[in-house]
Symmetry: C2
Subunit: 153 residues, 2 copies
Amino acid sequence: MSLKTIALAAAAAAVTLVSLPAAAQFAKSEDAIKYRQGSLFVIGQHFGRIGAMVNGKAPFDAKVAQENADLVASLAALPWTAFGPGTDKGAAHKAKPEAWTEQAKFNEHADKFKAEAVKLAAAAKTGNLDNLKAAFGPAASSCKACHDAYRSR
Amino acid sequence: MSLKTIALAAAAAAVTLVSLPAAAQFAKSEDAIKYRQGSLFVIGQHFGRIGAMVNGKAPFDAKVAQENADLVASLAALPWTAFGPGTDKGAAHKAKPEAWTEQAKFNEHADKFKAEAVKLAAAAKTGNLDNLKAAFGPAASSCKACHDAYRSR
């Protein structure tokens, strides 16, 4: 698959991403915390199913890979809307204070993941395991970079 | 909008639904519980944003309504994959034992909600508030019916 093909596929996938405003959309801080924890957990599960195929721990099934990657791409925009002002308190969570004090840098991480998720979905759409493997690594790295910087152990 | 138009739009929306197998996809029961709680919570938040517009508590914005309805329709298939055998234990949750002992009936509720979510997304796509209102009621009823039957207070 050429780079141009990948770029076109990624652009096609990108238009399906939602443009939900990041403004306060939660009745209370606890809701925002549950929302981001819930959406990140669901993303992690679907991302992990692709990872299992990429790492040879599950048989490669192009259709299943694409469904999971499409879900990850659809969900990738959600969690960040729930890190608004004041949502650092209200319930137990593992996000470090820097997620709020370094908001621009935090958002760069979020944008990086969203972009990688689009590329992953485009790679999955090709039905080729090598393409999926090539896109999975950078996507996983974008998860890890943000977790290392902004998630307490 | 004619019933035929609604039916066609619903059919178009339906093809975007994922066909994830309901088989055991979780490493442990606790993961399934977190997954279904997380996905249901995210669905509830987006469904609630549509409800606010339908009930006049938020200004109607056709684009926002459609984004939220599309998300609900995309997510509507997820929670039920996490009610597999053995997932009635493993972490605190509110699902009643009947969700496992009356599986066929429980699945009917899930299917009803999925169908209503598709109709809601189709209605939102028309950009017409009256269509949205007409589809919201039955969708909300499908949530309530299942909660009344299978969720502890």
